[in-house]
Subunit: 482 residues, 2 copies
């Protein structure tokens, strides 16, 4: 079989340095990339290596690799950064105030960029597996590339020969209508296809095509720990019971898992769950290695996401057999994969992690001690808010047991008590549905907190109860436990 050409027609192919020189020093640059894959590499590296005095605003779909969030950050070239970062130089720059970082929900970012007064975009730089006269085919993630390409009048396309051309088969590009009279997204099942592989653009907008041959700097997942396995067992038991109980899950179970090693381990653990005759389906934002196992074993019927957030080994496995995986795997724009309306319509069971939860069910996913940002909220709230069943799964302690993740009051709330249905740790499950705040506190102390911290949490609660109130807090002592 002859591979299809990567560059069709006569396109303006340039060296990365030449193309990068087209980007103004203070430009707002929209880049492809989500889940640490599918981001542009050559143009960012050329920018980082240039001796220009850059002050860029960089807006990605989600997390990207070292070429942007390490090299460009260390070059001091990024003044502002949206909406998510997961590399330590970018994190340090955000926390030091050297880089103005704004973390944003994923689902609405495309609209925000295009209409919302968020930024005034100058140029888009996007990675593709192929480009033609008025189209490109994205690589290992779709993210917000369709919205970004729509937004700008200047486009740079990086055709990456290290990404298989066959990834095209995974993509289902559908751009939602624009408000105020947008129609519903016509997706009636998680595995349905409503578009094709190509993102269209105005040929006049194409500044240049750059060729690269460089792999994504992808995720590394650690092996599951004993704690991961215990959390997984508690999660499996809770979800299995709920699937039996609720008519919502009579025919199928649709799951989403947050990105990261714990999420990856939890996915894998569901292979052992007994969901009877029900189809197990994934409708989330990232496909991690654990899902490939489930697909290969036949336990998972299909997977829909916006990114192949795989380890290098996982990439090898999928790339070697992309056409077969494309039968059951679909990559969508992030404003489809994370769309509140679809998460609701499909009755998704959402499983995300958090840094800590408080006695009443509020969760902090982003800011250590309330001040120091970790990565960003990403899609966690898109799913936690709109799922039929929203679960937070996390270890009961951090810092080798020196710190409880069940705390009196979170110093930063990303998910409120109104959105969290259940909390799962290695010690148990707190089913918070229908409970009132005082009941939630008891459940979280007794079932989720590490035994070493229960007395101390109860002491806080007893003190707060003396002051009364529907959701009793002692504001003088709320942060004393740190």
């Amino acid at each position: 079989m002859t591979e299809l050409p990567r560059i069709e027609g006569t396109r303006p192919v340039r060296e990365a340095g030449v193309a990068a020189a087209e980007i103004p020093a203070d430009a707002t640059v929209l880049v492809s990339g989500f889940g640490s894959v599918g981001y542009p590499k050559a143009v960012p590296m050329a920018l980082a290596d240039s001796d220009r005095d850059l002050s860029l605003t960089v807006v990605s779909g989600g997390s990207v690799g070292e070429e942007i969030d390490v090299a460009l950050v260390e070059a001091g070239a990024i003044a502002r950064r949206y909406p998510y970062q997961a590399r330590s130089p970018a994190r340090a720059a955000a926390n030091d105030g050297r880089m103005a970082f704004s973390d944003r929900h994923i689902s609405t970012l495309g609209d925000d960029v295009q209409f919302g007064g968020l930024v005034d975009a100058d140029v888009a730089v996007v990675e593709a597996v192929a480009v033609g006269e008025d189209w490109l085919i994205p690589s290992a993630s779709v993210g917000h590339t369709p919205a970004y390409v729509d937004t700008v009048d200047s486009l740079l396309v990086e055709v990456n020969h290290a990404q298989p051309r066959s990834l095209a088969g995974l993509h289902d590009i559908y751009r939602p209508d624009l408000p105020p009279d947008r129609d519903p997204v016509p997706l009636s099942a998680p595995d349905e296809r409503i578009g094709g592989p190509k993102i269209r653009f105005d040929p006049d907008d194409l500044l240049a095509v750059v060729e690269t041959d460089r792999r994504d700097e992808s995720y590394e997942f650690r092996d599951p720990t004993d704690t991961d396995r215990d959390i997984a067992a508690n999660l499996r038991s809770f979800v299995t019971d709920e699937v039996e109980r609720s008519p919502l899950f009579a025919d199928a179970v649709r799951l989403q898992f947050g990105v990261g090693s714990l999420g990856n381990a939890l996915m894998g653990a569901l292979a052992d769950a007994d969901f009877g005759d029900r189809d197990l389906v994934y409708f989330g934002e990232v496909i991690q290695d654990g899902l490939l196992d489930l697909l290969d074993s036949g336990d998972l019927a299909s997977a829909s996401a916006t990114s192949l957030a795989l380890s290098a080994e996982g990439q090898d496995r999928l790339f070697a057999d992309a056409e077969r995986y494309a039968e059951d795997v679909v990559l969508r724009p992030a404003d489809v994969s994370n769309r509140p309306a679809l998460i609701d319509r499909f009755g998704v069971v959402a499983v995300n992690s958090a840094l800590e939860v408080d006695l009443y069910g509020h969760a902090n996913s982003t800011h250590v001690d309330g001040s120091r940002v970790l990565n960003g909220i990403g899609g966690s709230a898109d799913f936690t808010r709109n799922a039929a069943l929203s679960i937070l799964a996390l270890p009961a302690t951090a810092a080798d047991g020196d710190r409880s993740r069940v705390v009196p009051m979170v110093p930063h709330a990303d998910h409120t008590e109104h959105d969290v249905d259940a909390v799962v740790t290695e010690h148990g499950v707190a089913d918070l549905r229908g409970t009132v705040p005082r009941e939630r506190a008891s459940l979280l102390v007794e079932r989720c907190a590490h035994p070493d911290y229960r007395e101390r949490l109860q002491t806080y609660l007893d003190g707060a109860l003396e002051g009364g109130g529907h959701e009793p807090h002692d504001l003088d002592a709320a942060f004393d436990w740190r």
Copy 2:
């Protein structure tokens, strides 16, 4: 014109006391009512007056009147209460822990009750303007009555002769499909109709019909204060500029306002806004008196909501002319009026209030000092999260100026920094879109805080900045200002 009959066919009409006796002492009772109107009156009063030892769970659509949240609460008959209350006896009982109160988002409550493991419902008691063999027509609100009637096998209907039969013309009853394969709600414009006036039920479920002739204990709106007028002027100016700027509002402006005197005053003030040729349309959860003025003046093209949350005077005005108002006013089930997907599709501009906002844009709408609940979150988060433009409008101070409503850290978060686009007070507007936390803090101090509190807030901020971090907080001092 002869009025249509209130009770069609031979229905089992009973005295309220006889009907109330059918309700078990520890029943979970789903009641109609939203925005303090359209709730059952005779059966709750009969329960409150009985000498039975009651321990009821009461789930309403939204806020209800004194017959439930005063009389039944004071009789000690309510053990658990969902999802909202706005009367001081209910509030006191929730804060004292005498009544287990759980506040919930409005949009998802119907699903939660029907499938979510929230409660195990026994009976529904709903107010109607008419009832037939297998249908009823709701009165001044729809709320979650369609879902509640679907959920139970035992139904009591109160036909209220004090509510005009002609309210039927306002109702558009459409029950969304059920997950996991629910279709989108097929509403393509805020004023469209996709149902009819009747809620259907299984005739075997009807325990009894009770007749009443008692008006709703409706809202009282205070006259706008100078502060209200200044907030309104700032809001009008901000929204007008945004309508000019954004392509989202090229054809129409769709607005939602929160319930209450401030919301009511803000609605009225938009009559003076210049939106050019654009249609002004309301898509919210409650219709308050201010909207009737706009409808009568021709400034408002149409209004969609789930409740006529009017003053007694506003009721008189609408009731006298219900057929004419029905041309432009539509009442929908709360899971349609508040549906995230529709708020998104219609590009709504949402204007809600809050008790306080913090330096980074998190808002507390529900808990005074973090502990004492006021009313509940209601629909505020449904709109704030899903609107095209989310505005919080509030006075800069409370307690006659003795307390700043812009605070270092909210002691309870209902809306996170990720969801609030702008904050408006009588002093100005902080447009938070695209900003990072440190920028938000400066904007809120300089433009929204009362001048008397700016120095103190800046002092907190300067201290927090010494500790560093993306969103700098000093946890030792975060609540010192109280």
